[in-house]
Structure formats: C-alpha cells, structure tokens
Symmetry: C2
Subunit: 332 residues, 2 copies
C-alpha cells in the first residue's frame, strides 16, 4: 500500500509509492522507447491496459476494443491505490495515512505520433471534455479533496511513453502549491474584495507586454514572476473558479488557446519537452469568488533543479516580457 | 540590472536575471566540457576569474596567483549584482526590487578531477570553513537577510563546470522554502517549547530505521518525507541554529560526516549528479531555540520534474527506510 506522509516542519505531503519500489540500480538513464516498439496506447492494444473508465468511441463499438478517439484508463503502475480506507495515524512526531487515490491516464488520440499541437482542434477539445468528465465523476467520491490533472510531454519532462497522454491523480488532500495559491487568493480577496487573478488579467491586458495571445474567452500570458523561461499561463478572462464548470462553448475556445500556445512554444523553442498542470478549486470549495482556475505550461529548458527544489528560490534567465514577445510574434 | 519580483498570489520571490538573458536558441542541450579543455578554476588560470574575495593559500603567495588550496571568487555571470540600492517599488498589483546581492563561487580544490568524495578530509574541512568565513563576512552587509550556500555536482544537477565547486548567493530576502521551515519550526516551538528538528533526531536515533550514520556531533538520515529517492539530511545532533556558529572542533566532525555520506551515495548510486543546500537561520534571527541548521543532499535520479514543480506535490518511488538501509550498509 502506498503511503501519504506529512512533513512535520512545513506540512508538505509526499507519496511514498512503495509499489513502484525503486532500488538503486533502477535509476540508470532511461532510453526513450524506439519508434515501432510496442505501445499499449496504440489502436488494437486496448487489452494491454487496465479496463477503460471512460471512452469517446463510435456507436456500437465495445469497451476496450478499437473504435475510440479517446480513452481514460487507470494507470498500470499507480502512485496511489483506489481501494481502502485512509486510516490516518501518527508515528511519534510524524503523520501518515494510506495512499488512497486514483491515478488515471488520458490517452488523447489513437494516433501514435500525434501531439496536442498537431491533432485536429476537435480532438484537443475532447481532451478538455474528458478532464471535465473525470472531474465530475471523481468529485462524487467523498474520500477525495482534489484532482490534479497534468501532462508530461517528452522523456525529459517525465513522460515514460511517447504516445500523447495526460494523467490525473485524485487525492485525499489538497496539494501544497494549490493550497498556497488558494490561501493567497483568499487573503487578497479579504483585503480588496476582488479576485487577484482577475486583477492581474486586467492589468496584463491593459499593458500587453506579457500577453502572448487572447481570444474571446481566454488569454495566454507570461506571469510576472515566472519560475522558468517561457513559463506560460492560460486563463479564462472572466472569473471562473472551477475548470469543470466551464460553459460548453468555452471548451472549443480553450482548445484553440491551448493548442495555439503549444504551437507557439513548439515553433520558438523547437518542440521542447514540457509539462502543464491544471489548477482548479478544491472539491470542497467550489464556485468561489477568490480563486480562478488556469493552466500552467512549463517548457523543460533548464537544468538548475536541485537548488530550486531545495530552496524554493528560482533564478530565471529569460525575462517574461522577452519570452512573451517571442511567443506573440511566432508565426503559427 | 537583475530584478527581484514577488509573486502576488503566494508571495514567492523570483530573480529575473536579464544579464544572463537567454534567448530561445540558447536552450540547446549543453555538452559537458571535455576533459583537457580550458578550466578557469585550474591552477595557473587565476587571472581568468574575477579577483578572489577569500583564499586559503601558502604564506607569501600573492592573491590571484598559484599557491592556494581554496579560492572564493565572485561569479563571472552573477544572478544578482553587488552594487546599488534595493529600490523597492510597485507595478500595479506587482512588487519588485533591484536584484542586489552577492553571487560567489567556492573553488574547493586546485585539483581539476577531485571531488568532495575523493579529497583529503582536511580539504573538505576547509570548504566548510570557507562557508563559515563568507557567512560571517556577508552578515555585515545590512542589505542582506540570507545567504544560501549550495553545491551542484555534475552536469545533470546544473553544474556548468566540472571542477569541484560550491556557490553562495546573498539575498535581500529570506527564500520561501527556508521561510516556511522557520515558520513551521516556530509554530512547533510555540506549541511544544521544543525544537522540532531535535524531536525528530531523538526519535530517529531511537528507531534507527532511517539513520544512515552518526558520529559524536552529527547524524545523516533519510527524512520521513523525502521528496526524492535517497534524499539525505546531515544534521548536528545537538541544537544549533546557525551554521556559522559551529564549534571549531565540529568542522572536522562535519567534514567526516559529509564526506562519508557522499561516499555512500557514490557507492550505492554509482556517483550520481547531486545537489546539496545548507539551511541555516536568517541573519536577523541568529541564535534561536526553534530552528536547527542542516544540509540537505539530493541525488539527481528522477525526471518527474514539471509536475512536482507545478503542484508542490512529490511522488517518491523509494521508501526512505529502504534508502537508509542501502546507504547504511554501503562499504566505504
């Protein structure tokens, strides 16, 4: 059983995922899977994944057979386990609980070589719909407080399979970084009675220097304090606290903005590995005035990792105003 | 002038280091410098670095010439600038100040191929003395609140030169991760009137399962909630809030413990790239009862980076009890 452990000093939770139990010799440099090798996410290989929990597929096709355009399946090597009780307990000064949660993979397309940049817009929109459908479903499980949706693209960004996919982890806790954002946004709201994200968006759209692009509903911008070069946020222009409550016409609008932004990043940075993370309100604080959901995109360009991990301090060699200019002027 | 910017949501400061200004094409994969290439840290190349601010050298030898066993020089490409005023100011919802600070390099040895694992113990002890000497000196500059001392070993851990060196950055702010630790430790102290680190050390020495090794003054252990496989902390066994106040006999003791721990890591993980960071009390809170200085060592073994960066949530595939056993039993 994986274990969730709480740091007694700063209160950060960590998953000790003993099921994936890595021994020293397991940390050799991974070789990227060769093209043409076996891929469990390819059409016809549906039986090699755990049974699908959601699929968008042609009418009349059976689950776990071809005919799908998108599948969501449990991760074969989950960081957390779906069955069981939390069983919170202490161990002297330490706190822990069972690593209960869901860990699912969103297989975004049957096409092995496609990416979110190259897929038809409708397919990208479906990826966003699948995020929403899983959020709505997992919200019903009272053990969960948060669902983290994220994507690792490229080996250097942590993707172990090259076939385009996202992942989600449903958690019995709200992760630290999200908690900090929520708390900070709440404090700002108490003081100003305005959403800090709305204020930022207003100011950024006025000045324009850090804006990458905008459409009717969304804006892509470089944050004022990016931790990493070309870190880019996609945000709804109008206040909205929860991803899953997006209006239905906004899914297409978001698909355009997300794909457009990824294409700009691909163009300017030569298809770099990247991660993105969907930040949305915790399940128990839906529909609030202070938090504003958004997607953070982080191209993997620099290596100065341990220092930042250890100190929480970031040195970014690229000013966001510069990065925004490059991305804004990219011809896509 | 580099700029320090404060995130308006969670309050994290970031250095925008425009002097190092990286453009998109600068992010190609770096190739490790070849052995035999020019190294500014080698004996005889002293004139190619900025003038030394500290050196341990033979009597009678001139600064910036051979005859040294350790040199501290300003970083040639500093993330922060030493001259100037902080000039704090707002920009709408945002806060910023000039990137004033010191960025120095500790050249640990004249021997190009030596590492902290292979150097004579006395040389390792001198590295620790140089940390102390620079802390004491930089403390006098009232603009600084914190000095972060860290080491990147190996290209994948962010070292741009292979010649063994540490770095320090003096900052006009206390970095977020350290601030969180101090605040958490203070809270624990208010509640229990004991240092949380002292409580942890006592519990760990009693149980032994996460202890790697100990000597009279220091203990090396795997924390209960390691973010990364084989993350290891070296801590003074008796309460001590500030690195620079270490008793003089403890420098040798720490050198033994640090070198021993690095040798264990080298042995078990085949000389992995690693980072370590010295966590000590901020300059304006010296000599307190709640914070306990320590060194965090993070071998660079995994790649799942963006997700962790984005969420503050860590999945660790190696239980610290397992890691401790491997390191404890390493024959060094």
């Amino acid at each position: 059983m994986p274990e969730l452990r709480k740091d007694p000093i700063i209160g950060r939770w960590v998953i000790i995922s003993s099921e994936r139990g890595k021994r020293p010799t397991d940390f050799q440099e991974s070789t990227p899977r060769k093209k043409g090798g076996f891929c469990p996410f390819d059409l016809g290989n549906e039986h090699t994944t755990p049974p699908e929990v959601l699929a968008y597929r042609e009418n009349g096709t059976a689950p776990n057979t071809p005919g799908w355009t998108l599948r969501v399946v449990p991760n074969k090597f989950p960081a957390l386990q779906i069955e069981g009780e939390l069983n919170k307990q202490g161990e002297g000064v330490f706190d822990k609980m069972n690593g209960i949660g869901a860990h699912e993979v969103i297989i975004e397309t049957p096409l092995h070589d496609a990416t979110l940049s190259t897929l038809p817009l409708k397919a990208v929109e479906n990826v966003l719909w699948s995020y929403r459908d899983r959020l709505v479903d997992l919200k019903k499980d009272v053990r969960f407080q948060y669902v983290l949706i994220f994507k690792n693209e490229g080996d250097a960004a942590g993707a172990s399979l090259e076939h385009s996919h996202s992942q989600l982890i449903a958690l019995p806790i709200v992760p630290k970084r999200v908690r900090e954002e929520i708390d900070g946004a709440k404090q700002y709201y108490q003081y100003k009675e305005r959403c800090v994200f709305c204020d930022i968006i207003r100011q950024e759209l006025n000045s324009g220097t850090r804006v990458v692009s905008e459409n009717r509903d969304f804006v892509a911008l470089e944050p004022f304090t990016p931790r990493f070069p070309f870190e880019t946020w996609v945000m709804p222009k109008h206040h909205d606290s929860s991803f899953e409550d997006m209006k239905s016409h906004e899914f297409q609008s978001l698909a355009e903005m997300l794909q457009g932004t990824l294409r700009r990043i691909d163009k300017i940075l030569n298809c770099p590995p990247y991660n993105y993370i969907v930040h949305t309100s915790p399940f128990r604080e839906p529909d609030n005035d202070y938090y504003h959901w958004h997607i953070e995109i982080i191209p993997k360009l620099t290596k100065v990792a341990g220092f930042e991990w250890g100190s929480g301090f970031y040195i970014n060699p690229t000013a966001p105003e510069e990065a925004a200019k490059f991305l804004r002027e990219a011809k896509i």
